[in-house]
Symmetry: D2
């Protein structure tokens, strides 16, 4: 059996774990795996590398993806889709495993439903905002990166009796913000799912200061919305994908807090730091398991499916159902977090 | 409402997260929490400290337990049980939350069923070997500790073309060994649940060396059993709890491997390192959530229950059912791991 | 003997190590140490805490300063200086140890020369830009913080074939930028001491890309100056100290690089992250040794001195000479770094 | 110019930094570098790899050595030395840079003095026990590894009110033990340079316990000697180099402490963990600078020299003088450490 895999969209710790699991599983069954380079661009241009299990066995601790990535989407132009099909046939592939976010999986789903290409998906979103799976890989590593950063910021905040506003990823969903807010004993958590009452946050910060707590930590999603004031669209620029460019939310919140409370407030934007680094143990295990099961789905010719985590088990779910269903933060987590935010 | 909590048995990263979650939740509802010191010994002797939410808010990043721990078991002697009941009444407690392993929870369960004491349990086992809950806190931190250690050992193994045998915790169950084996791209994983075929392991190490892989990593549980030879009882001593003292399994396996393969082999026992350190993000969140829900069970007078993780949710399960049910490693994990062990 | 200590100016990992070393040394000689709070403000207002060696023994791993800090300078107003002298007498101090940067040490020096107050200094500058001492504590921890961050950024840069510009501390001197540039295998290092030839940097980035290196790392000091264009004063704001507010240098450089090379370029500002966190082994040892020797100078009544590192030894140097001598990066380091920048 | 390099003896974090610095510097001057494999064995057998600067640029964060290592010593047999000279001529080398400890440098020195081979040395000893240089690379990374391990052990020791004995490297010199003892706020430091008074240590542990400090940390060198009892030769075995095999010192000290004090005492041997892992910032910079200057010595045909650190500068010192001069711990460090050990 000859399988191809690709990694599309933003990078994420754990991608290499998935690739490694897939390559080893196919190899054990006597097959071979190739890696298309830079996401769907490789599928369009027929750019690939042979993936040798002895070499891929070494990539487990590596962040990022050895295949590179891009946001190229063949469905922008029907001729590009034809090229993908052509590549598929020329390379005599029996299966294509697409590891990526909603866009990448959407392409894999359409290729299956419209062109009968034997595709399999593996979900990737560092924001953990995909339905059909309990956790996505990369999320845990990201939380630890944020936590380590805030552990460092805490000492400097405390020494200077300051409030520090930490801006983290979370365009549409607050999973990273809420979970890291809990892990970082934040005084306030501002997520896209909930309008922020900045006055209430300022009151709490002042009250805690009066009670003796000399510093404060405020976690803010990129996509947070302030009651009566849309933080995200203020001074909006367009980014490289044509989306409203987020940024500066943390900075704006910090200025507002300092103004309202009189407490020295600084901000830090963790940015690209959150996507990088060696995957945590959780993500190495999850990525590996997903790769192994993607390989097993391929060997069983169980196409049009996506591997997902359900409790402790890895299962296969129909690609079409999984795609396009964004999952916002469950209210129960905000409710639990709220015990520390009053 | 006046709640007492205690931490019994071996320590574990995340204990302080549980205490913190409990204290804050009880405080938010107008109640108070005290901490009994050093496990059940504090309940017997009436030794406690007042737990102030502002202070406990700061303990989240701290490993270990601020209350100390011991393996004291009041059920060794009926008079000790009477003292526990006496302490309970003298301190006018409305509830006692016991955070601990099987022994600690067993005592809490009996106090509830036999003496009607309003107890609540929170499971603690770094080995992740308890039924009724998907994951226990401390397990993730431990996996990362092992993983970081093996990431360091890999570079020295590779430079010297050696095999390194890593002995990790796992007296009866191989959760730590198997999951860290996957996370560390081990060449062999030796767990108590499965008799080890040492000859097969040696063949694999030699074959991989011939194919160009210059080093090897072998993960071994304390409680691993070698086909035809019980590694654990060889040269057995008794430890402080009257159990057969495990130890030297890694060392014995290393000698056998070197003898059979001719490859230079060293061993490392991670020991107490695995119990220590600041909890990972996963454990800070899980510990906090368990503490919050233990508090909520107490406020709802929902006694004789234990908090547990089920998928993404924290639930309450009857203490009596949870106690005494040890959970060995699921075969599916060994099956997945096996893709890399052939 | 009764000694007081204070920590002034920006915080820095290792401050607690110095305090701990001082307290223990004075205690061993039968004396006592108090800690003035929040830098010179505590000396003005007479705000202090008793420092107990058993408690301070535990602060070694803690970043920041348990005494808090401020940029209060008593020499702004002669009446404030009088209050410092008054506090000194009321508290019956035999010595005051000032741990801080140039401003803090300058005050200590003047109090000694103008008012005969028995002061001793311990230099603190995370930028390592002080003469009279080989290395200052906090510098090593900061380098490791930057290095860890860039190790994470490297994986995401490589996956996306990008250049990442990292803005780090260094208002007047490029020690942090140059040393971290070396430790992070940067492709370009932009320090205040050397006008940056951005065209040359862009040519190098393009050349390396053509030769197969898919990503780039550029380290930039806050205070870097671009040939023909002063990066620092562009869009200048005033910060809380009345200085020209630096910021956005990294962002501006990133935009220029992307424009000139056509390579996708992103920027990250590490900001306050660099001041925080648990001190490295080097800084725990250096801070401890400096604290011990500051204590010994005090016990020997060797006032008006500052402790400093000379090779492997801690020595005492006259405060007056040490103050006001800023040390820019030695050309030899830029020369060594240049081997990797062509 | 054609240069060869090799890494001999035990591995150490920073070796790859040296190789990288050398390769890049020779390349910049129009030369080429090859790497002999596995220490002097490669020089005997003529086994080598071409070292390409673009590839070696990526090895900076990697622990260990990409060239492998061995303890092979050509001077065991004159015919082997002839083969080294033969390899040198066949490969048309202009210079050989030997990176290693005393044995490796000794060979390089003899080849220079006896056979006129143009050799250059770079000192490597993780124990930091070499004269002629202030610090050796790998030492700092090792201290941080020990420190991180003890930071983890501290939480578990405190929770269980125990003393933990940590056995670390240091066969003849106590640099690692003393410096990590300071960095880890140890209660006792047992180094080879100073006979240990175990009774005094036990008294101190008991006194501190009575004063409220619930745990203890004891750092012990492999080569520590107990007054009246030689810990090292007790139950001695021979190791792979024919030396008395050290080991179990920590375990023996732990048993003695528990017996004499009645305090529960455990031991941990960090072993091979100390040699591994990604080099710290300090070691990446030092290794890089040493490699660059070794390259410059070669380009200047300044043979029979060894690069060394003197204060902040890298200098060249005659190989013959540097070899064979082991440097034990300076008394000043034990004196400073003693402030915390009484």
């Amino acid at each position: 059996m000859k399988v191809a895999c690709l990694t599309g969209g933003g990078d994420c710790p754990g991608l290499n774990a998935v690739i490694r699991g897939l390559v080893r599983t196919i190899h054990n069954a006597g097959g071979e795996t190739i890696g298309l380079l830079e996401g769907w661009r490789g599928a369009i241009e027929g750019n690939f590398v042979q993936l040798n299990p002895m070499e891929t066995d070494e990539i487990l601790p590596m962040g990022g993806t050895i295949l590179g990535s891009s946001r190229t989407n063949p469905y922008k132009d029907e001729s590009l889709v034809e090229q993908v099909v052509k590549t598929f046939n020329e390379l005599e592939l029996d299966c294509l495993v697409a590891i990526g976010g909603d866009d990448t999986l959407g392409v894999a789903s359409k290729l299956y439903s419209d062109h009968n290409l034997p595709t399999i998906g593996c979900p990737k979103t560092i924001d953990n905002d995909l339905s059909s799976t309990d956790f996505t890989f990369g999320f845990d590593t990201c939380l630890n990166t944020v936590m380590d950063a805030v552990d460092k910021l805490r000492t400097t905040a405390e020494s200077h009796r300051r409030v520090i506003v930490v801006e983290v990823m979370g365009r549409h969903a607050g999973w990273i913000t809420c979970f890291s807010g809990i892990a970082c004993s934040a005084d306030a958590i501002m997520v896209p799912e909930q309008e922020v009452d900045l006055n209430a946050v300022c009151e709490l910060l002042k009250k805690r200061r009066e009670n003796g707590k000399k510093y404060g930590i405020v976690m803010v999603s990129e996509g947070a919305v302030l009651k009566g004031e849309d933080l995200t669209t203020k001074d909006a620029e367009l980014d490289e994908f044509g989306h409203v460019k987020l940024g500066g939310v943390g900075s704006r919140v910090a200025k507002m807090i300092e103004k309202k409370t009189g407490i020295e407030t600084r901000d830090v934007t963790l940015g690209h730091l959150q996507r990088g680094g060696s995957p945590s143990a959780y993500d190495r295990v999850l990525g590996t398991r997903l790769g192994i099961h993607a390989g097993r789905l391929a060997l069983n010719k169980d196409f049009g499916k996506m591997v997902a985590l359900n409790g402790l088990h890895i299962v296969g779910v129909p690609l079409a159902e999984a795609v396009g269903t964004m999952r916002t933060l469950y209210p129960e987590f905000l409710d639990e977090a709220s015990e520390f935010l009053r």
